[in-house]
Symmetry: C2
Subunit: 466 residues, 2 copies
């Protein structure tokens, strides 16, 4: 297409011809490359952090996962920690903006320029086009994080004497929570604040607000004057709010149930109010944030409890939020389809609205492809070459492997103590999992195949027995 021959113009033309998914993938890879070099430099980190450790940390930060093979407070300089926070905001709010943008389209095949023009022209975001939407996403994010930081500073981290240190801890954890990143400044994550209701409450609120997505926040804000009539809200908003609430409550109840029977487990010898606080926090955190207020390992949780956490990690947060996973609405669609089938219906009905069959189909595709991908990851984790001297423990049981891979794919960051013990092959598998899981299999595939025109052949229908 381009008639000019300078490399710079060629690059510019190439960039303009990228689709949004392709643009996202290319940008992500570029940020990781630049971030790695920056973080590995002595300005940002101690000698313990080589290129490999920096690459893993940057990938984990930009995908807001939180899996880590370094100790953030010890191995990173203040500038390094600031860089990390910047990467987390870029990854969290950046993808929030991109997915919100893509939600406006049914198909994802046109070029970026075209899209941007279309978005501006059609005002399909309801708040005056793309620019105002992006601004609103940023303003919402910084307001929420700001309020959280103030509350944490004043009432939360009161045990930290140094004001600057206390402020940085408050700000960093709010950034990490709102973007569902799960990075902490301390080696034990938030275990030291297990019984602090302010820290629990603020972090959990940040996670939930960041996880439900800008469209839902915007819908709630627009209708704030007449919220008694919930019917004004869109089906999407109601579905996100209800499934988020149900998942939090049932996750906590489930953990209370499974961990009752685990001798030596995390809620042994706790008061009932501690039980509730710990399980609620863990239930909220497992769906993508990845903070923990109790030590996580195969010893401190029962098999059943770990399985429940795996399911919560798989489901993840809501679409257009800062979290990962297959998304709450995908899960709700499949549950709706299941209920419809069991009732003998032939269409999916949720909240008295019929869900289009194409949505159900997409949900099936996302879930199956994601499940297959995670299982392949777990299979691959075990078979890589062992570089001498690297691994201190080479055999993990199947549940530990599956948990770790799900944690990476769902960009959760909960860790049973496996990640740092893996050899480089295993850590590579996790990095690929984080990248694929963050972008989502659909976005990734449309980045690869997006430009190819889809053949539209009609085939005759034929029944099969199932």
């Amino acid at each position: 297409m381009s008639l000019t021959s300078t490399p710079w113009n060629a690059l510019k033309t190439w960039r303009q011809r990228l689709t949004v998914p392709q643009f996202t993938v290319v940008t992500g890879a570029l940020v990781i490359a630049v971030g790695t070099v920056l973080l590995a430099s002595p300005l940002c980190s101690t000698d313990d952090v080589g290129l490999w450790q920096a690459l893993f940390t940057v990938t984990s930060a930009i995908t807001v996962t939180g899996l880590s093979i370094i100790d953030v407070s010890r191995d990173l300089t203040p500038l390094g920690q600031l860089t990390l926070a910047g990467l987390i905001i870029t990854g969290g709010l950046g993808l929030m903006a991109i997915t919100t943008f893509l939600q406006g389209f049914v198909q994802g095949n046109s070029g970026l320029r075209q899209r941007l023009d279309k978005g501006r022209a059609l005002d399909e975001f309801g708040v005056g086009g793309i620019g105002p939407t992006f601004n609103s996403i940023l303003i919402t994010g910084f307001c929420v994080m700001g309020i959280g930081t103030v509350v944490l500073y004043a009432f939360g981290f009161t045990d930290i004497a140094n004001p600057l240190e206390r402020f940085w801890a408050s700000l960093f954890h709010c950034i990490s929570a709102y973007n569902n990143a799960g990075f902490g400044l301390w080696g034990d994550n938030l275990v030291r604040y297990r019984d602090n209701p302010v820290v629990n409450g603020v972090i959990a609120s940040m996670i939930v607000v960041g996880g439900i997505g800008w469209r839902v926040i915007n819908d709630l804000w627009t209708n704030r004057a007449r919220l008694q009539g919930l019917r004004r809200l869109s089906l999407h908003t109601r579905l996100v709010l209800r499934s988020t609430a149900l998942l939090i409550v049932f996750g906590a109840l489930g953990l209370m149930f499974t961990e009752q029977f685990a001798a030596g487990g995390v809620i042994e010898n706790l008061q009932w109010w501690q039980d509730i606080q710990v399980t609620l926090f863990q239930s909220i955190s497992a769906r993508t944030a990845g903070f923990n207020t109790v030590p996580l390992s195969i010893k401190t949780f029962s098999d059943a409890g770990l399985l429940l956490l795996i399911v919560l990690m798989f489901i993840g947060a809501s679409p257009g939020g800062t979290g990962g996973g297959i998304k709450t609405t995908t899960f709700a669609t499949l549950m709706g389809a299941t209920r419809s089938t069991l009732q003998g219906r032939e269409e999916v009905v949720i909240h008295r609205r019929q869900i289009p069959d194409t949505v159900v189909l997409r949900a099936v595709g996302v879930v199956m492809a994601s499940a297959i991908f995670v299982i392949l990851m777990a299979l691959l984790l075990g078979i890589g070459p062992t570089t001498s001297g690297e691994p201190t423990r080479t055999t993990f049981n199947f549940l530990e492997k599956l948990f770790t891979c799900m944690s990476a794919f769902g960009t959760v960051g909960l860790d049973l103590g496996v990640t740092a013990q893996l050899n480089r092959w295993g850590q590579l598998v996790l990095m690929v999992g984080m990248f694929v899981g963050r972008l989502g299999i659909l976005l990734l595939l449309s980045a690869i195949y997006g430009s190819r025109p889809q053949p539209r052949v009609g085939y005759p229908r034929e029944e099969i027995y199932i």
Copy 2:
């Protein structure tokens, strides 16, 4: 409806008003009750077999599962073994007939009589109505089992000197294989014939032919003269044949891959041809039959291999066959839906035919409900009260529990050495799992809710983001 008041007539009227699913459930429960009393009597078994052991064995036989807490050759008399074979045929061919019958209807709500009349009148089975179909199912079954018995007697179990014993072993194993029951006469199942190609071949063929279902066999037989043109076959037949072949091959390749890395595993120190024979047989057998030619335990298989077996057990055989699981066509439908989604299509296309959305919806419902049911089973297995003296080993890891529950739900019968070690609570969970898994969640629910008219309310469509 009934104007007469004698209990017998009331019972008869009640029976006639049952739907087919209700009739199936009631008949199944009755056969289990009668069979238990019969098998527990001294005519059929030694003193070691009480009512509980008899109940478990009969449930396992009528659901063609093959999980066992007794030693068939030692604890059952010849009459007991004959009863077991009878129960297996009843369960296998019986449900084959019923599901083949139900496949003729889209909805399952009319009464049994009505159905039978309709079936006779409409000749919807293409071979002259219900009577001829049932006859054909029986004749096909006995022909296949007969041929198998002759081959096994003449070339297979040649190491058994006593002719009567050899005949009974041949007949019993053919019945067990064609009906996908997986019961063996010996404590080690078929481990002693691991390297015998005739035994491997005959049993594997019986399993596959029994598993693909009567409709497929009938379609192949009808078109036998012009099989070069595969397009004459129905979509259902082609789909069943292709997914069966693919699952067998990929299952075997997968096992070869995962077990390569398992030190001390079952294919260590084997020749390449033994590798192929063992993995092929195990891949075929895992999708519902449940025979094993190698010792099965958490020690002899890798975690990844056991996971693969769990997936194969979950998928199971084909609809209208003697096997269980969610069915090959259900799996193929979901894979088709996944492929369509990843390609950006809005309809499911398999073999150049469009699959109706209602079929996709049913597939989603079956898979989700089944997966949730099996996971609940695995959670419940661990928490029952321990009756003193019963269990010799009370803690199993998560993978062992999930494997055992999947084996029961898929009516497979592969056992890691868990079943006999469980307490009665755990064995009860397995029995319920076998019963539900054999009938299928859809059939069971339509037995419960079948008579209730389904409200047909139209709701407006609304999009959600996933």
